[in-house]
Amino acid sequence: MAPHPSRRSFLLGAASITALVPLASCSGGTDKPAAVQDTQPAKGLDIQGVNFTYDPNTLVNNGDPITLDWWLWDSDEKFSAFADAYQRIHPNVQINVVNQPWDDYWTKLPLALQGQDGPAIFNIHNSHHENVLPYCEAYDVDLEALSQDFVGVDGHLVDGKVYYMDYGLMTGLIYYNKSMWEAAGLTEADVPVTWDEFRTVARKLTIRDGDSFQQAGFNFNTSAYVLLLGKHYQSGDNLFDTSGQQVQLDTDTVKADLAFLTDLYDVDKVGSPDFGNNSDEAFGQGLSAMTYNWGHFYGTLKKDYPSIDFGTFRTPVATKGEEPYAYDRYNGESTFGINKNAPEGARQVAQDFLTFFLTSNDLLVQLCLNYSLFPSSLALADNSEVKEHPVTSVLGSIDRYVWPGPMPATVEDNTKIAVSDVLYNGVAIDKALATATSTIDADIAKTEFAAVENLYVHADEAKG
């Protein structure tokens, strides 16, 4: 037997088999559900919206079947409701809602949007503004009508165009344990309006056994940095200077605010950095009577700590009866982006779906309540469900909350480090804030970020 020719044949054959095995197990391409032809433009449906309107009595994509992918990271059933409602009006459109994990969504999305096969529409979070904006198509909308019906559209203008905006607004408030409240002899009349009243209430809610805590009156161990950034506005100062690119953390106002917070622990003894060092969990586990957090905490408490009977009230202010420059800042939950590289038909349907989305008030209310958001649609400001919701009801008017713009992560990250350094590492307030300021400024200088605090409706009242 001649070894060489058979060895060569063997190698060739083996290589061919190697190549064929995976091919045999492949399944390429996507299997999208087929939509049907729509031939009925006049459906006898009402026009939606006030100034910014949607007419459902039209054909989209000429009634031809079309499929769009919609990528998002959370609560797909609330978003699916929009897709389902739209598909009932336009049966020729199939919108595939594809749920993605939040953490890696921001890795995959920009990669997918670079090609031709990325999703036609995709949910955006403004913290990733710079990553996704290059792939977004501008909204084809009447900006004047949009601004008449929605809060904060101006803040989202990029070169005079909107690529995404807010459908709901989230901000901070105080959560309190009702059982502990009653046990301390407090009533609804004791809900504090000022920070001084808050201190008193927090002291009453604190239970100590000598030097050790049994119950913290107020625990801000996880959320102090968020509270600090919000409290800033109550003093009348903006978070950024007039250029919108330099943070104003190293100021007497912020130093006083941070000193106020540390005094709550050091002087008033209503809590400790080491007692329930995760203030979210500590509140849920019944270790602390009050905590500060943003609206989303309501959903966490309902889901993970159903036995906690809690209430909410608006963050206190300096002076009773005096409206502050702003109660806090808010951040928006953004409307979806439209892929500028998607096929033209898909982009047109996406634009049509966007208008439908923004004018579907019933669905918008449900979406906002799901995340404890204040709707940005002015038509929903007086909605009974919004007014009764434990989070949105206590905020009052969203008119007194500032949106600084899509917040670069460095701001919260470094403020958090500064507060932790003060609380846990004994760093002086001056030094911690100075370090945070210089780091944030250096990071922001590398980006296109510019705060839009100047667009706040009460911006003329700012002291600094």
Partner: protein, 273 residues
Amino acid sequence: MSKRLQTIVLEGVLLVLGVTTVFPFVWMLFSAFKPNSEIRSLDQTLLPRQWTLENFLGLQDTFDFVRFFANSLGVALAITAVTIYTSCLCGYVLAKYRFRGRNAIFGFILGTMMIPWAVTIIPRYTMFEAWGLRDSYLSLILPAVLSGFGIFMLRQSMADVPDAILEAARIDGASEIYIFHRIVLPMSRNPISALTIFQFLWAWEDYLWPYLMIDSEDKQVLAVGLTTFSGRYGTDYGGLFAATTISVLPVLIVYLIFQKRFIAGAAAAAVKG
């Protein structure tokens, strides 16, 4: 210290290490039967105070668990089968054939093991997209077709197969394909078993590449599905533990099937002589 005492001490240390290693898994297993409020409560117990099957019954609500599980199983089995075969093939060629550049090729294969996968993931993504392979199982299987580690492992093992056996087979008229499949592969069962366990585990737990490549939910794998339990504002630990508990089963089964030969392979490698 007497030998018996040494054994007792050693076994005691191993027992402590073993319990420490296994305890988190056991804790996860029992926690899968707890409601979320109990998992997050301050007062923790190993056994659930309130047993519930809700976490298991609700799995299908979070994502199509059965579908994802089946996808993972199919992809992991395909990858494992293909990798084992190509590793054996390449290992055999590098171990038993003499040709120019053999050592350079082996060196190159070893070199591929030293490049962090994260460095290649973006160009690989671009390449697969250009080939139109996104959202296909082929995109998951192709990158695993050739395993540097597998080739290295099998090459080292097959080098120990006596040349005399192969020559005897050739003299008896056996073809190269016959020799490879009927003589070399059966003699390599121990390293193949070890590689099967490793490769199946790696394919089963691979997350980022399947996540980047697969867009359709009906083709997605379980490792990606598990991450949907962690939202922006919190994690459904009960659901996550229940899903993870079930997802561990295929790996355990593969290990139980191949463990005897895996241990034999490891022992043989340890007592080389």
